[in-house]
């Protein structure tokens, strides 16, 4: 019963139940985890807001070069000024503005890759789980083949051959990262498939498409959301790695991974140029993973112990 799971997982319900001494030790872990989820969701919401409002929050144009103030220090260092609160990069571009616009790139990558790979993987997984037999064997074979090829290497090679750009990276990662969706959706569909309401829909003469989309999909949705969250985080990390190696998003776009790559040569004297985008990436992934873990906890009854 997904409904009741959600209710008892809300902090209020947990607080009421905490009075019951018998369940107290088990619940303390749960309350702590729902707090972790709140932190993650709050942080993620903040980053989303910052990304959406980037044009209004940025003090400067992210591509504008202030040649007098190149590699200016951020505000917490001795020579920092409020003109450039996070300093400037070696080309004199305002670091805060680039960070704000960079959030858009990371989020765009995470969301679009999760959508593309989610569509492919969910279709494959649901078909395999629903039909079983030869379909299942074919899908399992495709998943095994896909898993045996290192994502980062195949992505690097493809980007090197086709040429790097934001959309190429999204497409390549989207076409590569469907494996976990397929695996999870397959087993989730297998579980739902044998339930009464699917049998009822079948005997009522509903078409296969209708059963899959109307009966199965809504009931495997919790799993889908959890996988999508974790895959979005992994896609953001992969894009950052590709861009860091120079084979992802191309300059002058302010991708956080690319910014770290561009700052590498200056790491000795200007380590903040690496530390700022690196910390931002870590915070974003941290927030998404906390949300994913939290959602997993909310959705799965076995996760409650």
């Amino acid at each position: 019963m997904p409904g009741s799971t959600l209710e008892s997982a809300s902090p209020d319900a947990a607080a009421v139940l905490r009075v019951d001494a018998a369940v107290a030790p088990r619940l303390s872990g749960r309350v702590w985890r729902s707090r972790a989820f709140a932190v993650g969701a709050g942080l993620l919401l903040l980053i989303l807001l910052v990304a959406v409002l980037a044009p209004w929050l940025s003090p400067h144009d992210p591509y504008e070069q202030d040649l007098v103030n190149r590699t200016a220090q951020p505000i917490w260092m001795a020579k920092g000024t409020w003109l450039h609160p996070l300093g400037t990069d070696p080309l004199g571009r305002d670091y805060l503005s680039r960070m704000l616009y960079g959030a858009r790139i990371s989020l765009l990558i995470g969301i679009s890759v999760a959508l593309i790979s989610g569509l492919i993987g969910t279709t494959m997984g649901m078909l395999a789980g629903y039909f079983g037999g030869k379909t299942d064997m074919l899908v399992s074979f495709l998943v095994t083949t896909r898993l045996s090829m290192p994502v980062i290497l195949v992505a690097l090679a493809t980007v090197a051959l086709v040429g790097g750009s934001l959309w190429i990276v999204i497409l390549v990662l989207g076409l590569l990262k469907w494996d976990r969706f397929a695996v999870v959706m397959r087993s989730a569909t297998q579980q739902v498939r044998s339930l009464d309401y699917v049998a009822a829909a079948e005997s009522a003469g509903a078409s296969t498409t209708r059963i899959l989309l109307g009966e199965v999909l809504p009931n495997v949705m919790p799993h889908l959301i959890v996988v999508a969250t974790l895959e979005a985080a992994s896609a953001i990390l992969l894009e950052a790695s590709l861009s860091f190696l120079g084979l992802g998003v191309q300059p002058p776009l302010p991708s956080w991974g690319l910014m770290i790559s561009e700052a590498k040569a200056y790491m000795f004297f200007s380590f903040w140029l690496i530390a700022i985008p690196g910390t931002a990436l870590a915070l974003l992934i941290f927030a998404i993973n906390l949300c994913g873990d939290g959602l997993h906890e909310l959705f799965s009854p076995e996760g409650r112990s």
Partner: protein, 305 residues
Amino acid sequence: MIAYALQRLGLAVLVGIAVSLIAFLLLRLSGDPATAIAGEGATQVDIELIRQTYGFDRPLPVQYVAWLGNLLRGDLGDSIYFKTPAGPLILSKLKTTLLLGFLALVFALAISLPLGVLAALYKNSWIDRLCLGTAVIGQALPNFFFALLLIMFFSISMRLLPVSGSDTWLHFIMPTIALGYYVAPAFMRLVRAGMIEVLEADYIRTARAKGLPRMQVVFKHALRNAVVPVVALTAVQLGYLLGGSVVIETIFALDGLGYLAYQSITFKDFPVMQAIVLLLSVIYVLLTLASDIANAWLDPRIRVA
């Protein structure tokens, strides 16, 4: 048992063929190799000559079969950049990468086993939360950012370790940490979950009731059973480690397969690129095969399913 092993072997061979087909098509379909080999400033006549010499003018299926035939005879083609046969070239670098992968795995297990056991023994205490919290933070840190942090601390501030190269064992310390820390959280969670489950089992209660020392029960009886799933995860994680070595070896200029992959990608050295993708995939397929068979041997239930 033999039937199961043969079935797995058959699947591995099929996956190997599929991977070779993808590796072949990936590099043939994403650009004209003759133009790339000829380089800038080549005339149309040069390109045509190269096309005929390399056999790029033949139909794709013919090219694939010829390529596969050469492959089975151990001929992986010649490196365009290094002007040497690709096979011996990649094999000479493989040792470094396998060593790095092995060290990273040992490092990851050395952290995750004790922490996982500790977290399970003190479930829901502050120790448990500290371990899980560290895991979430660890998984959020991009490996290239963490590598740069290590360089900043150990090489630039403390002046303890060399930044790049692969001459001494000192050169392997930072790459091992930078590659291994990322897989540790997954192992830790698995060990923790396994231990929690096993510690509640009847035979543990029996062992405790017999009056055996607590440590002996934990390490001799419980841990041995809790690590069975870790074996299965090891194969998957090795796949990640091999892929991740591209980023880490490039940062530390460690002279292995990952660095060679990066070089071949930036120089558009197709035969080497192809050979590396293929080799890493075959290694992964073999490891999965070994782990499947090892698991079936450890747990007879798997063989039947």
